[in-house]
Symmetry: D2
Amino acid sequence: MQSVDFSPSLRAADLTARVKDFIDTEIAPAEEGYHRDLAEARRTGDPWQPLPLIEELKTKARERGLWNLFLPHEHAGAYAARFGTDGGEGLTNLDYAPIAELTGRSAIAPLVLNCNAPDTGNMEVLLRYGTEAQRKEWLEPLLDGRIRSAFTMTEPDVASSDATNMEATAVVDGDEVLINGRKWWSTGVGHPDCTIFVFMGLTDPDADRHHRHSMVLVPRDTPGVKIERLLNTMGVYDEPLGHGEVSFTDVRVPLTNVISGPGEAFAIAQGRLGPGRVHHCMRLIGLAEMSLELACKRGLARTAFGKPLANLGGNRERIADARIAINMARLLVLDAAWKLDVGGPINALSEVSQIKVAVPAMAQQVIDFAMQIHGGGGLSDDFPLSGAWTAARALRLADGPDEVHRGVVARLELGRYGASR
Amino acid sequence: MQSVDFSPSLRAADLTARVKDFIDTEIAPAEEGYHRDLAEARRTGDPWQPLPLIEELKTKARERGLWNLFLPHEHAGAYAARFGTDGGEGLTNLDYAPIAELTGRSAIAPLVLNCNAPDTGNMEVLLRYGTEAQRKEWLEPLLDGRIRSAFTMTEPDVASSDATNMEATAVVDGDEVLINGRKWWSTGVGHPDCTIFVFMGLTDPDADRHHRHSMVLVPRDTPGVKIERLLNTMGVYDEPLGHGEVSFTDVRVPLTNVISGPGEAFAIAQGRLGPGRVHHCMRLIGLAEMSLELACKRGLARTAFGKPLANLGGNRERIADARIAINMARLLVLDAAWKLDVGGPINALSEVSQIKVAVPAMAQQVIDFAMQIHGGGGLSDDFPLSGAWTAARALRLADGPDEVHRGVVARLELGRYGASR
Amino acid sequence: MQSVDFSPSLRAADLTARVKDFIDTEIAPAEEGYHRDLAEARRTGDPWQPLPLIEELKTKARERGLWNLFLPHEHAGAYAARFGTDGGEGLTNLDYAPIAELTGRSAIAPLVLNCNAPDTGNMEVLLRYGTEAQRKEWLEPLLDGRIRSAFTMTEPDVASSDATNMEATAVVDGDEVLINGRKWWSTGVGHPDCTIFVFMGLTDPDADRHHRHSMVLVPRDTPGVKIERLLNTMGVYDEPLGHGEVSFTDVRVPLTNVISGPGEAFAIAQGRLGPGRVHHCMRLIGLAEMSLELACKRGLARTAFGKPLANLGGNRERIADARIAINMARLLVLDAAWKLDVGGPINALSEVSQIKVAVPAMAQQVIDFAMQIHGGGGLSDDFPLSGAWTAARALRLADGPDEVHRGVVARLELGRYGASR
Amino acid sequence: MQSVDFSPSLRAADLTARVKDFIDTEIAPAEEGYHRDLAEARRTGDPWQPLPLIEELKTKARERGLWNLFLPHEHAGAYAARFGTDGGEGLTNLDYAPIAELTGRSAIAPLVLNCNAPDTGNMEVLLRYGTEAQRKEWLEPLLDGRIRSAFTMTEPDVASSDATNMEATAVVDGDEVLINGRKWWSTGVGHPDCTIFVFMGLTDPDADRHHRHSMVLVPRDTPGVKIERLLNTMGVYDEPLGHGEVSFTDVRVPLTNVISGPGEAFAIAQGRLGPGRVHHCMRLIGLAEMSLELACKRGLARTAFGKPLANLGGNRERIADARIAINMARLLVLDAAWKLDVGGPINALSEVSQIKVAVPAMAQQVIDFAMQIHGGGGLSDDFPLSGAWTAARALRLADGPDEVHRGVVARLELGRYGASR
């Protein structure tokens, strides 16, 4: 008689348990050392040179079949079997969600499991829209974890929340594409293995609003590509991936590097962003859970005015509110993932925007409370909280600011009552 | 491969559709007239005398099998078949939830479908804990819609958020129970058919904290029972049920009127309140949905400064936030209902308290916005918004104030890390 | 050396003390009886017939010179001496503010001191813009407390937040004005002494946007004036003043009843609303103070879970937040009053809109907390809290909704950086 | 007739104008270069070595008499004339407040004007409680800008929000004091000129709760003093002052280094923190004003979806809310400063705690909005916003966490109704 059922599928439950075990036994014990080594590299050397630990853990993860788990069921094709979990056929968004939540608790787990942004999104784009040749050249090494990629879309000189503001150009010139412009917040360009950029630029200003732009594969070493600098968010550089400002000056690549044909960038972007946002949001939920856990433990371990901190003032209310907020946010993401699974991106347009608004705001709030109950230490890097806060804050802008997503939700809501836009 | 599934069961989907159709075709068209007649009765006559429309609609609802749908699957026994939907066997909490949401949109639908508080809770108590004789005498006429009931627990002279503060007494005296005390916010006592009160009082002050109180069935016409006055919430009397202040002076009833034995009141209360809170919350979600719908329609229909109100300032953001908040709240309630279904009240202790905190606050916020976009009219009774707001506000106190429920959630959360209380 | 000085002037301090004493000794002791009598009149008789107590208290107030204290220094002229405090010359807005706060704590004090809206605003209009004849006929009896007045501006059929939407007409026809239209939320029309309406309507649709409307004095008994009904806000009718819906059908008054000439309504309205909003806000601050006081007392007097309610959970934090919020709001209003005093309405345009946004929101929050700590009783009329909440909520719409005032503040802020609108 | 007067004294108005001019003409033009040089020093050299610009600007500020303006009127004595503005006699807290606001807009102005925390607080302590010899040795060089100081109170191993938790010891041993313990968040210890620490430790565990601790002057080069590391807040090290973790191992200083006698630390701390909190809060208000200004400018300069960002969605409402919040916060601080001036710290106990709660929360909110409207750039160090946010966030913990200050406000509020604590 029952149909609605909030329990995970057997396969997802099994994989989630295996990922949890791997994080608990392999990643977590190494993480403190990793951060110490990274801090040391920041002071004295080159934090952009990846620490060897990551490659060691990648090998272990792959041996256990915990690799490329993000690969979506409906587009995985043969790749899931070749590069994913043993016998894999790809997971639904709903099945992958709890795995993303687990990896979100760790700063390095997504990288170790080859499930980190923006590589996952770029791989998905190649999977869904790439030619055989493009897949061969870039998708396979990405799935293999041999190279990394970046997505260059946001621009420093215009409000990029409105993608039609984009000024960079990708002009078709015979059998080549001529690329010019400046991008920033291009995540991943700090990594030495990042050899391929997915570039988005204006191709035909006279086409209709959503067919003017193209997505083009631009190898990093193409002449005219220059990484101008690496940016920080609230003081955090997110090594070893990083976020860069990149200039493109008279860059030329073959026309075959265009993905899905000139003018198709918006169609691709729309398909690309649904699952990616689910992943981002589930990882933030992982961070929020970790923060609440730390807050409870600290609240019980430290004493002031004769009581554990947890029992002072409104702290218990804040713990309750955090629990409620996390649970609501997780359910909203799972529901969005389910709608993506059963009806595709168009079916989940409002839901994906809803989670993009709700989850970072929730996480920011929960993490802020956890910082507060940790006192001064909570703001320092003695705890993973300030980094977690920064991740949540950044996601209120990355992949579209809150305001744009609220606009989408409102438009669809008012559309039910006849509003045309 | 899929297991988590947010779609309703076929049976629930069918019943929900039938309830929706009944509301749309029978209740909604009559509702404006009902409110006009009630307002007239307030001015000139006796608003506590139920309007005949309700009985007419009750008959129709029952003919269609849309009757006592709240009856819980696990306790329905033969009653579901006799008094519920044709061939009925009771619904799960999860299946009933969307029906409760629909009835919440209407001020009279719960009454018409014999699914209103506090009768549902009282019926459930009799179903789960009543003797054969008690069921025969009170449960059957309640299921039949012939009588109504009240639950008298809260007291005016003590902070009743702490139930152990209760001062009213139910002393066992031979084969009788002697009852004294004063209760208020006893919902339902205004109705002329309300002939039976479930009374909660102190029986044995020396027993342990959770075995001191008893629940006793007290017929309204027992000597010593007096309805002192009817209370209003924010000016609203909620006729024809109402909320009363009731005094009990040397009231005597047979010992057989005690439910589940002396000292069992807390155990009963705990079991009683889970489903009831799910119902309350789902009805509030219905009110919030109705309010958002009215807000969107008004926002598109009226113009100021050359634009539809919906397009002014932050109104679209508020519409988006309302949509997100409603969706999150609904999912949280469905999850609590599911946990109640699969593991019973103890399994869902935190979840039920979570929804009691989250849903009224959400509804209050959404309805407040809808009032605001309606201008002055939104505060008057030209629209159902001010009544909806009052219902949401009252539920931040009824069935336990927010603060107590936050306390439960925090206690269980901290308990995961070893806190004893 | 000191110049900024937050202490009141000696005269204001003296008057404030005298008002406080009058409220404490004359009004407060009578207030409970007043409310009981009013409740009784609602049930059994005519609540619109003013209770004799008010007239008795008015006489006493006047004898003590606590009468028409609102009369503004700069426009009081000889009236302050004749109708105000003995030897009076009118108070500044800043000096009157603490008196308004005190009267706000009582439901009847403003009426008793002849300082209630909308009469104060209407008197001020006549003082500043009325002809000798208009003042003789309407201002003097108003100052004398013999008649009352209403302000009819808001309309039911359009979004009146945009005053240019106004559809009612006041057409000059020879030496008469022809008036047609429908108004609502006309405060005061329920009172039997309310004999004069200040009507606002469209005179010349071809004039520029701010010179199309006129303000016209319309005696209530003019043929064609009809009070259609009295409206409630959240169930509250605010007897004996009330808020009415009024229709005007081919109503004719002499051209001499126009205030300050045809087309001058906007200029008058702008001058009228500054002090009125200061009064409203200070009265709400009085309500918030009263609510916080009740919350503290209840929080100390009642016990749950072994502690005074004040010491449970986040209650102390909420008390602190309420104290902080009230203090900030009061300072903002005093600053606005000071700016009105030193530079007039244009000087305080942003400040007056700022308080209209900040104060009702603050009061709503503080009162909501006070209701919550009172439990069920807090929502009933056993305490003055639900009425206070309704007053605060209504003021988020009355005299311009929050959204419009935020628009004014933002426009002036952006204007500092060159934005034209 | 007017007494309350929000305009500044002539002297304060003059000094504020001179400080504004100095910042506009000398500091602001140099600031971008300063930050560039500091960023360069972070990458390649030693950011703790102060850049020469600071000393150059200090000289200019002193020449203009804009030096040590914080010196409080009532304790300035001859020092104001010798080390402050020409002919200076010290300012009231109220007069200094707008100057602090101005300096808060700049990352270096407080240092340049010799008005930065914690030196101001330490100088004030020496001024009020120091012996002649202590003043000679440490106060004069501090006033002269030749040395810097730190305040070591917070400890890593206990919840320092409860000062009685303090575990570090300052034991009187003959004519010496023996010091042991570990402190952190000791602001200023990163600076090479920081030669004197004010240390707070437990002297007599058997004394009453507020006479157990002493404040002791500990020169940095005393054997046993070790700066263990420098801490960051949200990635920011606040060079060149910094926040350090400092260990004290069997450190011995003469008994004459105790300030105001053993056991007097709490009395000193209470007096020290009032003005310091006013300064902190006014500087944050300066940051909030600067952020709102940047938000408005960016909102007008950038365009999306065919409109300036300022005109999209709820941005104008957020600008209005920011303006209102800043104004209310400023008035609250001015009122606290005035109460400090007229009645001293005990008179302003609640007010000082009120501003410590209200202002950082306000600033955090306003700055967050400014970051959001700047897009990705707002989170980077291309703008001063992320640094400003961190300053506001840190002040929700520094000088007592929000929760402790809310506790003070609530205690005093409830005390009006008889609560003993």
